[in-house]
């Protein structure tokens, strides 16, 4: 619902003042190790919860009273993210899946008992990860093969999951498994809530090309999950997973676009002279970033007004991802040979830390994860522009 302007403006000023007093300064300096990163993320999450800014997208009321800072509309959430970006605060990477993916899925699908069991833990800083992708199921997620067999009051789960963000630090996992091989591949999926401390769960961090370890692979070996920890009915997993995948509502890309624009100074300070070619490319990139941000902004405005069209979200993601690649590539170019000497990365430092070789490689996260550029292009072409799909079956060697 659209908020009156003066109300949003008041919110903006209030948060701006709060951030001036509470935002951590020079926080990247403390994030040179995983421990430093974890400590900063936990502290900042707690500070935001106490300030009432961490979960604006939650309902106002929980079963046992008000959620702190919940019940805010999308227009208010937008203001909050714009201000968090403007103040260059750490993004809540560690608790992002728990407060968005887990919580939003629980609000929509969990029984009152399940909500009472899990939501307070999220508020207290419990870390959740997502167990969806697999080695053989990336863009074609529904073809996943991790099996869950019902035995009495629990499922026995066997399989392997990949690209589980923060999985190595997680307490709980949103787990999508196959309970049936009959019929359409989507119809055989079931959604479970997994305790990462359960017997048979192994989480191994994935070493990324830029030196970070933001993802884990999960090995599940005869893991027991109580039936009481199933979300939705057996076979309903695909529908539940859609809630998880749409939980962040376009806010992330708005925030990231704003952060990219706010980081332009990092490129500017690398420009030595006034070589026209460099100035042109820098100017062109700056306008392109403006366009990416305008698109993310317009998308959220459409959502607030209930006018979102099929494919709009894909346009925003594709534009952001391509622009981020150009942005980091420009840093690499301006940084010259200096960027080829290895510098340790800042853990959780954001998409543009000024360590351009690392930032450039990290930008692939956005062109591949969360539906690759190629998947987004298919969505735009087939659903938005209504170009015909390719024939489904392929009989290959």
């Amino acid at each position: 619902m659209p908020e009156p302007y003066d109300h949003l403006d008041t919110l903006r000023q209030t948060l701006r003042a709060w951030l001036a007093a509470n935002a951590p300064a020079d926080w990247r300096e403390t994030c040179t190790s995983h421990d430093g990163f974890l400590a900063l993320q936990r502290k900042w999450f707690t500070t935001l919860i106490e300030g009432g800014w961490a979960i604006p997208h939650w309902p106002a009321q929980g079963p046992h009273g008000a959620w702190p800072g919940g019940g805010r509309g999308l227009a208010e959430q937008k203001v909050i993210y714009e201000e968090l970006a403007r103040a260059d605060t750490p993004r809540l990477i560690l608790t992002f899946v728990s407060t968005y993916h887990a919580a939003c899925t629980l609000f929509e699908w969990a029984t009152p008992e399940q909500q009472a069991k899990y939501l307070p833990g999220i508020l207290a800083g419990e870390i959740w990860c997502q167990g969806f992708s697999e080695p053989g199921a990336g863009s074609d997620l529904a073809s996943l093969r991790t099996r869950a067999e019902l035995r009495g009051d629990h499922y026995v789960v066997n399989g392997q999951k990949l690209w589980s963000t923060m999985g190595q630090f997680a307490d709980k996992c949103l787990l999508l498994v196959r309970t049936s091989s009959e019929g359409a591949k989507q119809a055989g999926l079931t959604y479970l809530l997994l305790d990462m401390k359960a017997k048979g769960v192994t989480a191994r961090p994935i070493h990324q090309i830029h030196g970070d370890e933001e993802f884990a692979e999960l090995f599940l070996d005869d893991v027991h999950v109580p039936v009481a920890d199933r979300l939705g009915a057996e076979g309903q997993g695909w529908a539940v997973a859609q809630s998880t995948l749409s939980s962040e509502r376009g806010l992330t890309l708005l925030e990231l676009s704003a952060r990219m624009r706010g980081s332009l100074w990092r490129l500017v300070e690398l420009v030595g002279g006034d070589e026209p070619g460099v100035l042109r490319d820098l100017g062109r990139l700056a306008t392109r970033i403006d366009a990416a941000q305008a698109l993310a902004d317009q998308f959220l405005a459409k959502r607030i007004a209930g006018e979102e069209a099929v494919g709009d979200a894909s346009l925003v993601k594709l534009m952001y991802a391509r622009t981020l690649r150009e942005f980091t590539s420009m840093g690499l170019r301006l940084g010259g040979i200096g960027q080829q000497y290895h510098e340790p990365i800042v853990f959780g430092g954001g998409m543009e830390t000024g360590n351009w070789m690392a930032d450039f490689m990290n930008s692939y996260a956005w062109t591949i994860a969360g539906g690759s550029d190629e998947v987004q292009r298919n969505i735009i072409a087939e659903r938005m522009l209504e170009m015909p799909r390719e024939p489904k079956s392929w009989v290959g060697a």
Binding site: G283, A294, D297, A381, E382, P388
Partner: protein, 332 residues
């Protein structure tokens, strides 16, 4: 505001639906429409006799003119109208403004910067009553039939536009709209308006070009299937759609930004025209052989896109200024 935007665009699209400049709509008929329909007064403040719809209104109309490849001097004329409506009052100002909003052709240069006595890139100067000579230190309106004023047609590849060089002697009688710092501000106002209109024209054209291309790919069959089924082509089209959507979002954002500077409008124009050019280049390629024939409209879009890109400062010009402003910390 967006409701008015939609209504304006719908009305314009309906009025222009007789056909495109390239395939039937008579040049003079189409060129006369903006005046007759009141489109030229859309962006003029109400206290100056306009509709007060600002840049949003202008964008809605200019996009439709671009979409339908409408001929005529609208981009230049909205610049003249902006200058007249923002100039301090002078004897005869209101009558001139009213005539210009009503469709009497008044034009100006769409060159990047003035050069000597020759005013270049002036649309439809042969049928204009007045030429606005924009210089950063002096903005003046010269009657087309003033002594010594000569127009020379410069045929362009873009058949939907007509450009002229105009010789304006220094001593030609003129109504001076502004001088000194006031002239600098008025020059910037007129240029901002024209740059914005060119950007909107480009994005209307880009949308039309992409829609035609997608339609063609859906219709044309090779290898026993529509071309639109090939992923290699889908992905190219999707990239174009993405580029148009982002540029369009920027257009509407700048339309609503009362503080948008000349540089912001120049950067917008450079970006939008870059997108238009990319879309029309792909349009030809994706149409294959038929895209090379003059009876198909692809070439009209390509030529209009390339002319738009060159008018009022090209991409290199504005991008370099943007880059410099970033370096100097003066970019918004």
């Amino acid at each position: 505001m967006s409701e008015i935007r939609t209504e304006l665009a719908d009305a314009a699209r309906k009025a222009l639906s007789h056909g495109q400049a390239g395939d039937g709509l008579a040049r003079d008929e189409a060129a006369a429409l903006p005046g007759e329909m009141g489109w030229l007064m859309a962006h003029v403040p109400e206290d100056r006799g306009g509709l007060g719809l600002g840049h949003e209104g202008l964008a809605a109309i200019a996009k439709e003119l671009g979409r339908a490849l409408v001929p005529g001097p609208v981009v230049a004329q909205v610049g003249v109208i902006a200058a007249l409506s923002h100039a301090d009052a002078f004897d005869g100002r209101d009558a001139l403004l009213e005539a210009a909003m009503g469709g009497e052709v008044m034009t100006t240069s769409l060159a990047v910067a003035p050069t000597g006595a020759m005013v270049t890139c002036v649309p439809d100067a042969d049928r204009a009553s007045h030429v606005l000579v924009l210089r950063p230190d002096r903005v003046a309106l010269v009657a087309r039939d003033a002594p010594g004023v000569t127009v020379i047609e410069r045929p362009t590849w873009d058949r939907t536009r007509r450009l002229f060089d105009v010789v304006v002697p220094h001593d030609a009688p003129a109504k001076v709209l502004a001088e000194g710092t006031a002239a600098q501000a008025l020059d910037a106002t007129a240029r901002s308006t024209m740059l914005f209109a060119l950007a909107a024209d480009a994005l209307g054209g880009a949308e039309a070009a992409l829609a035609m291309t997608v339609d063609y790919l859906k219709t044309r069959r090779q290898f026993d299937r529509p071309l639109a089924m090939f992923q290699a082509l889908k992905h190219r089209v999707a990239d174009l759609q993405c580029a148009i959507a982002a540029a369009d979002a920027l257009l509407w954002q700048r339309a609503g930004d009362a503080d948008a500077t000349l540089l912001a409008m120049g950067a917008l124009k450079a970006h939008a025209c870059g997108v238009y050019r990319m879309v029309t280049e792909e349009m030809i390629q994706l149409h294959g052989g038929i895209g090379l024939t003059a009876e198909y409209a692809c070439h009209l879009f390509l030529k209009r896109a390339l002319l738009n890109a060159a008018l009022l400062g090209d991409g290199d010009h504005w991008d370099q200024l943007s880059g410099r402003a970033l370096l100097e910390g003066t970019r918004a």
